[in-house]
Amino acid sequence: MKTETEFVKGNEALALGALKAGMNAYFAYPITPSSEIPETLAKEFRSPEYPEFKIFLQAMNELEAINMVIGAASTGAKAMTATSGPGFSLKQEGISYAAAMEIPFLVVDVNRAGPGLGNLGPEQSDYFQATKGGGHGGYKTIVLAPNSVQEMAAFPALGFSLAFKHRTPVLMLVDAFLGQVKEDIVFPKIAQEKFETPWAATGARGAERHLILSLHLDFEDQRKHAEHLKSKYEEIDTMEQRSEEYLTSDAEVVLVAFGVVSRLCRRAVNELRAKGVRAGLFRPVTLSPFPARGLKSLADRGIRKFIVVELNVGQMVYDVKLAVEGKGSVDLIYKLGGFLPTTADIVHRVEMASG
């Protein structure tokens, strides 16, 4: 009798989660620490368990891979690719084009230390690149930030759902630790969603043809298109902000963190509470749209101290400052180099800031 829980590595869980969500095509290029994603998919390719998984192709670099994704997704297929820092940089051109052409697909960035070649430890330094549009032009994507192997398994389905609902690329920003760690999970039973794609380019049989373009030479056409994208992003902002709170209802100081850092902060909150500090945790689950409403309501309720903990020199901290609208102080605890802060580090720094 097969037990329900499985002990799986983050990257593998993500790959299997994508398959269970009915992914049709995966275009690969290996880069540490994301390579287990294409390797798992290569093993499962042509398995009768995943009849929807029709295409696995290793491209010659990340540019090729993202453009293959654009092609497949333009026909309405569920396509995905995964990479890490240097490869994520290469994909920015493609993501910009896809955002303009409103093509839905998933891109996973397993964030390693950077910039440049960096090292293989976890960082959250691709936050700006992911959330502020790392490619040219004014666009946004939806960015999901899992913090457990369980979420690694569940988020591909959520990602595809959001991508097709709003016709946008969806990014998953995963820190390198989460990609590599193994945890007990239960694979969510996901009904594979079928998405309507009336816009797709599949051959204009008897119907009006579909043009998937991003060039609008006429200035008025370009303006209308940009306004359309703007209202789409506003709609996404209204509908899709996601976050999780822990012990915030009576908190005096709220830690703000995503990814693996949020789990260290959760432990720090417990230790602080045991020492009499009324700490809480606010965890963004979508980094874009940034869950500003949730943070603002904490500030409106009277919380005056926010401490952002992130693995970079300060990126999400600015979004928190904007969300809090000056009603409270926003400080930063950071860690670089691929290291994770210890719970003791965080507790100590919060105590120093509170005292």
Partner: protein, 270 residues
Amino acid sequence: MTTLQDKATGEYEVKLGRLPTLTGKPTHYCAGCEHGVLTRLIANAIEELGLREKTVMIDSVGCSVMAHEYINVDAIQSPHGRAPAVMTGIKKVRPDLLVFAVQGDGDAVAIGLLELIYAASRGAPITVFLVNNAIYGMTGGQMAPTTPRGMVTTTTPRGRDLKDTGPVMDASKLLAGLEGPSYVKRVFLPVTPMGSTDLYSARGSLEGAKSVLNAFKVQLMGGFSFVEFVSTCSVNWKMSVLESKRYSFEVLAKLFPPGLYVDKMGVEKK
């Protein structure tokens, strides 16, 4: 730390010795890897030409990412696949320098193929050494453009199927078809099995040493030089060191025949 093997009588001269162009740092390369051998051949050529203080090497991305730790010259890190472009930039402003890069089959033939083709087509006076071991080594054994049909890799777990993945790429033949390159050579670098004896030939190293020197001479004469070293990757091929030499000889040397493909300056005749 040296162990002097004997306290013999008489006076000895060093026929082959330590090179100032090597840092002496122990390498991270796997046991038996041709990257290590090539490092020695390059260090030897730079020393022979007396160009240690006029050389800039480019680290590419792959197993050779730390090559600067072993070769005692100035070094610049290039993004993955872009070494030929970086070297072109250097030579344009400093044509007096000797530049080279050691690239793997992923770096040069996959992600960096465009940069390689254009630098070669322009006849840029640079030198590219390709270590072709038919797999992505540093990232843990994924398929490369040079992986032979049927080889098991982590992204071709049931063996490479050319119908699914496209053809095996021959970098030397590709470059030889362009007008720009002055020297294109392919060398079988591993120790070569010789029939049924347990004796292996070192001719790969000797041919390799000459080819590295010739490649540098071509650059000094203003031409683009490229040497492809058919090699091995015992760890990712999941073979012993000697098994990997035999596999390379039996399969890769036939798929990628060694030889002199282009020699516009006649450097091998001199």
